[in-house]
């Protein structure tokens, strides 16, 4: 079929499909004939990830991880061959509904995998809630996805923003810190991480004396660092990522605060930036669901296989992509590859125990990982594991009624 014919076909199908969707309220209401058709063909997996822009490397790592999970199963999931359809979401929330619509309506994918940017995640939620398509999110930590906006067909293999900082409360208490300042970018992810920390810290009797924000994605911290010095808290907790994180770590050192007021953070503060910051990050402690030096069999095997296949070192994003592949495999195996039995696939995924490089995890009722959070310390160029900071931490999933 030529490209043109396909387009016309897709467009007609789209019109019919949209009428059907308007009527359908629950998942799994596809016609029997469609079921039979779906079983014969390849399984269509839509990858909606950033392949250009700031988050491009994350999109590639997730894709690699996912493909590694498929390769390990002989290039098939539950006996079904896979056809990948990729869409570059450009980390642009404004285009999110349009992009995910392309996958769902035009390409008729069986499952959507995506994405990195939290704003785009919420755009996907908007469309996928209506269409009922299976969706596995391998990164974006927006709380609402497995909170107020949760749905039976929504799954996440990464983290909620809340999870990444909640365990820090315990950590700070154990170190004898009674007061803390939280500093981050002023946007949803930063605020959710602040909330997660505040809750955990106050439960332990600590006091969050000040929340400092700088507009996203600005990296001028001088005035805020001066403010921190004048408050003199016992500890500083930070969330920044990528270039912003590198800049913050360097400025923290240049302002002379390093060594005076201990710095903690969500793990993203020190992930992927250690080559760029020299000794500015040395000794910084963070919590995350993955770490260097976990020293488990599964992790070693994964790292080796990943490095061999892609000539790259894996990171937390690759693990999340890999687990997305593992979770989908578990769901499909429960129905022997009959993806049209959506309820069966969902049950299969809900029951799955994922043997991940990060350690074993299961899904919460709201379909977010219940997982161990590690305390990590920057030693040289590694985020060395210091042990588990919180065993089997579950997101509270506030507002989720499903």
């Amino acid at each position: 079929m030529s490209q043109n014919d396909k387009d016309i076909f897709a467009r007609r199908e789209f019109l019919k499909g949209s009428a059907a969707i308007a009527g359908a309220t629950a998942v799994g209401t596809l016609l029997p004939s469609a079921m039979a058709l779906a079983q014969q063909g390849k399984l269509k997996v839509g990858l909606m990830l950033p392949y250009t822009g700031t988050f491009a490397q994350l999109g590639v790592a997730i894709t690699n991880g996912f493909k590694l999970a498929v390769d390990e199963r002989g290039g098939k999931l539950a006996g079904r061959e896979i056809e990948f359809i990729t869409v570059d979401d450009e980390s642009n929330p404004a285009k999110a509904p349009e992009n995910v619509n392309k996958l769902v309506q035009r390409d008729k994918v069986d499952v959507v995998i995506g994405t990195v940017h939290s704003g785009v995640v919420m755009g996907m939620a908007k469309v996928l809630k209506e269409s009922g398509t299976l969706w596995i999110n391998p990164n974006g930590g927006a709380g609402a996805m497995t909170g107020a906006a949760c749905a039976p067909n929504f799954f996440r293999t990464s983290f909620s923003n809340w999870q990444t900082t909640h365990a820090l409360g315990k950590v700070l208490k154990a170190k004898g810190h009674k007061t803390a300042v939280f500093i981050t970018w002023k946007y949803a992810a930063g605020e959710e991480m602040m909330e997660g920390f505040k809750e955990g810290f106050e439960k332990e009797g600590g006091k969050l004396v000040k929340e400092l924000y700088t507009p996203f994605p600005q990296v001028e911290f001088q005035a805020l660092l001066t403010e921190i010095a004048s408050i003199k808290p016992d500890a500083v907790v930070a969330f920044f990522a990528g270039g912003g994180a590198a800049k913050f770590l360097k400025d923290y050192q240049a302002a002379g605060l390093k060594g005076k007021i201990p710095l903690y953070g969500s793990g993203f503060l020190t992930d992927g930036v250690l080559d760029a910051v020299g000794d500015a990050a040395e000794g910084v402690e963070t919590t995350l669901h993955y770490a260097d030096g976990l020293d488990t069999k599964k992790d070693k095997a994964f790292r080796l296989a990943y490095a061999k296949t892609f000539k790259l070192q894996p990171d937390v994003y690759a693990v999340q992509g890999y687990d997305a592949g593992q979770l989908l495999a578990a769901g499909l195996e429960a129905v022997k590859g009959n993806v049209a039995d959506k309820v069966g696939v969902i049950k299969g995924m809900e029951a799955a125990k994922i043997d991940s490089p990060r350690g074993q995890w299961t899904l919460s009722k709201a379909h977010n990982p219940v997982q161990d959070m590690y305390l990590r310390k920057v030693v040289g160029k590694e985020n060395k594991s210091q042990g588990v900071a919180w065993k089997a931490l579950a997101d509270p999933a506030r507002g989720c009624k499903a």
Binding site: T52, G53, T54, K186, L212, Y213, T214, P215, P217, V219, E220, Q222, A223, L224, L225, T226, E227, A229, S230, K232, G242, G243, A246, K247, K250, D251, A254, A255, G256, L257, K260, I261, A276
Partner: protein, 288 residues
């Protein structure tokens, strides 16, 4: 906030203000002397930062990179004036807005083609990579002090150039009466080319010396541009003195705003601008 920290925040604000002056002084000159509204001014700032980054990673030294980059930006400025801006002196501001808006898009895409879309950091030169302890737990990076010093020197040089030199006299005369200057046999076209190139070089230079502090990112010119316009409008179009006063004002307002009233920090400068314009529509040092 006790006195010591108040003084340090004051220093932060002044340092930011001085840098702002460096970018906006070029804009106000071009604005005031040639009557050109130039939206692409922020792009020159961006070009400067990217030049500094790429040349520094080639030569391994920021100072060398800056010395190499300055002549390049002067040439860029002269070329742009000759080829594009020259055609707009007599035209309505509307077309200047339009042309320079198009120029922004061109610069952004060329940047993307030449240097890519990644965010880069530039290392602080080893010589200046130190901090001076100010209080028990806070130190001040030497590099920040150094660039403040450079900004001050340049401000003095600019003042001297415009007020005390023959060239400055011709520039001032050209601003108020173009035809008269021309009839006196002064090559006004050449003066315009020089002024424009000076403006470009100042903005680019600000981008270069600020690269280690602000990172080098796509669209970095856009935020700077708007703030510069606010500086120029508050200070009064064409007034270098006004640009200095307004820059320091905004630097302080943003610094203290961020700390004291973070919720509305982004708006403060614009509120400030609205107040000034209601009170003095021609700006603080503008001519009626």
């Amino acid at each position: 906030m006790d006195l010591a920290f108040f003084l340090i925040q004051l220093l932060n604000g002044l340092q930011y203000g001085l840098l702002l002056f460096l970018v906006s002084s070029g804009l106000t000159l071009v604005f005031g002397i040639m009557g050109i509204i130039n939206l692409a001014h922020g792009s020159f700032y961006m070009v400067g930062a990217y030049l500094a980054w790429s040349l520094a990673s080639m030569t391994g030294n920021l100072a060398t990179a800056i010395l190499l980059a300055i002549p390049l930006t002067v040439v860029l400025g002269m070329a742009l004036e000759r080829l594009l801006f020259r055609h707009l002196y007599s035209r309505d501001h509307l077309y200047q807005v339009l042309l320079t808006y198009g120029l922004i898009l061109v610069f952004e895409e060329l940047r993307s083609l030449i240097w890519g879309d990644d965010v880069h950091g530039v290392a602080v030169p080893a010589l200046l990579n130190a901090s001076i302890p100010l209080t028990e737990n806070l130190s001040y990076p030497v590099y920040r002090l150094a660039i403040s010093g450079v900004c001050l020197l340049l401000a003095l040089a600019l003042y001297f150039l415009i007020q005390k030199t023959r060239l400055g006299m011709m520039i001032r005369a050209g601003a108020s009466n173009r035809d008269m200057v021309q009839s006196l046999g002064i090559d006004i076209k050449l003066i315009y080319t020089l002024v424009f190139a000076l403006g470009v070089a100042l903005a680019a230079f600000a981008g270069m010396i600020n690269a280690p502090l602000s990172s080098v990112t796509p669209n970095m010119g856009s935020h700077v541009l708007i703030i510069c316009f606010v500086v120029v409008v508050i200070g009064g179009i064409g007034s270098v003195k006004g640009a200095m006063a307004a820059s320091l004002m905004i630097g302080l307002a943003e610094t203290f705003g961020q700390v004291l009233v973070p919720e509305v920090a982004g708006m403060i400068v614009y509120v400030l601008m609205a107040i000034v314009l209601v009170w003095r529509p021609e700006g603080l040092f503008g001519r009626k």
